[in-house]
């Protein structure tokens, strides 16, 4: 099972800054192991961030993103105590959802 993300969300002057650290191998599918076999591609393809139930960011990821990706963004709105939910889905169909309260 996929490991948890670390999400931080803080609101200030009507703007919420969200920082997300994801645990993912982000294998490109271009690399070979010591035995010369291709290491199968395994990377996040989609990411969605919701403030309460409203999508505030939707992103497409690909194999050029590093292992254990870090994403930071800001959106207008959000208040202390609101829910921030982040979900990613990868090319193997695995997914992970984590949430925090905005501080």
């Amino acid at each position: 099972m996929a490991s948890p993300m670390r999400i931080r969300a803080a609101s200030k002057d009507g703007v919420t800054e969200v920082r997300v650290l994801m645990s993912h191998p982000m294998e490109t599918g271009q690399r070979k192991n010591a035995a010369g076999e291709v290491i199968p591609a395994h990377f996040i393809t989609e990411l969605t961030a919701k403030h309460n139930d409203k999508v505030v960011l939707s992103a497409e990821f690909g194999p050029s993103v590093s292992t254990n990706p870090y994403l930071a963004f800001k959106f207008n709105g959000g208040a202390k105590g609101d829910k921030m939910v982040v979900t990613w889905v990868d090319n193997k169909g695995e997914s992970r959802t984590d949430e925090v309260q905005i501080s």
Partner: protein
């Protein structure tokens, strides 16, 4: 003909050498490190370690919450900044890794041999590294405060110093061969002058660290192991006295400098 070839070879070298002549400042990694500091993926290991600390595991099905890292059972805050230290209960000087290993064995029944005989980043040694990430994060920003007054600490410091200058291996290198002068580098990596307190602190306060080049979290034992390899000498046994002695030497020289743990490296 041969002479002509050589001249051509020299020409090629010179042509390539010029653009590669960076100064140390141009290769300064600090700016890159600052950019990465905010999202240091070492946090993912820290999270795992935090969970491991409170998870009942091993043959004794116990947590590590009673583990004494030197400041009393269960105290994690600030503990790493004061390690290595002499522990009366084991009669030994222990660094963070060997102390955690002791706790895992005594509290949880996980045999130390499994970790010592294991591989970095795998099995129980991998879990130990996550615990290290958790513990060191709770000393971030604290000044290093290693007490070397105990005679066994003094012995370890003296041994560490001796090992640091001891030349051995296929190339007859000592640690000082690569870490004994200011302003040196290997490829793009700046090499701190560990014979000075400032240089020792540069290394000690920035490891354990997450390495962006291979997405791995390395403990200080892992860092040292790799430098033994770079020295082209025998692999040190995990958490053996020689590794702890070197850590005492480095940590004591770093006293008063602020811990940047967990670090982020190339």
């Amino acid at each position: 003909m041969k002479r002509k070839l050589m001249a051509a070879a020299i020409g090629v070298t010179a042509a390539f050498a010029a653009p590669l002549a960076f100064t140390s400042e141009e290769l300064n990694f600090d700016a890159y490190r600052q950019m990465l500091a905010d999202g240091n993926p070492a946090e993912l290991f820290e999270m795992e370690g935090e969970e491991l600390w409170v998870t009942a595991r091993g043959p004794k099905n116990a947590t590590l919450e009673q583990c004494d890292l030197g400041l009393g059972p269960g105290v994690v805050e600030g503990a790493a900044a004061q390690l290595p230290r002499y522990f009366a209960d084991t009669g030994k000087v222990q660094d963070l890794e060997s102390r955690l290993m002791h706790c895992m064995e005594t509290l949880q029944g996980i045999p130390s041999g499994e970790i010592i005989g294991g591989k970095f980043r795998q099995g129980e040694r991998g879990k130990l590294a996550s615990l290290v990430a958790y513990v060191v994060t709770h000393s971030k920003g604290k000044p290093i405060a290693v007490d070397v007054s105990h005679p066994k600490m003094q012995d370890m410091y003296a041994m560490g110093e001796k090992v640091f200058f001891y030349r051995t291996g296929a190339m007859d290198f000592s640690c000082a061969s690569c870490h004994g002068e200011d302003g040196k580098r290997i490829r793009a990596t700046h090499l701190p002058n560990i014979t000075t307190n400032k240089g020792a602190a540069e290394g000690w306060t920035s490891w354990p660290a997450y390495r962006v080049s291979n997405s791995q979290f390395w403990t200080f034992q892992h860092r040292l192991w790799d430098c033994f390899r770079q020295q082209r000498t025998a692999e040190p046994v995990f958490a053996s006295d020689v590794t702890i002695a070197l850590s005492v030497f480095l940590a004591a020289k770093s006293n008063g400098y602020e811990a940047q743990w967990p670090g982020v490296k190339r």
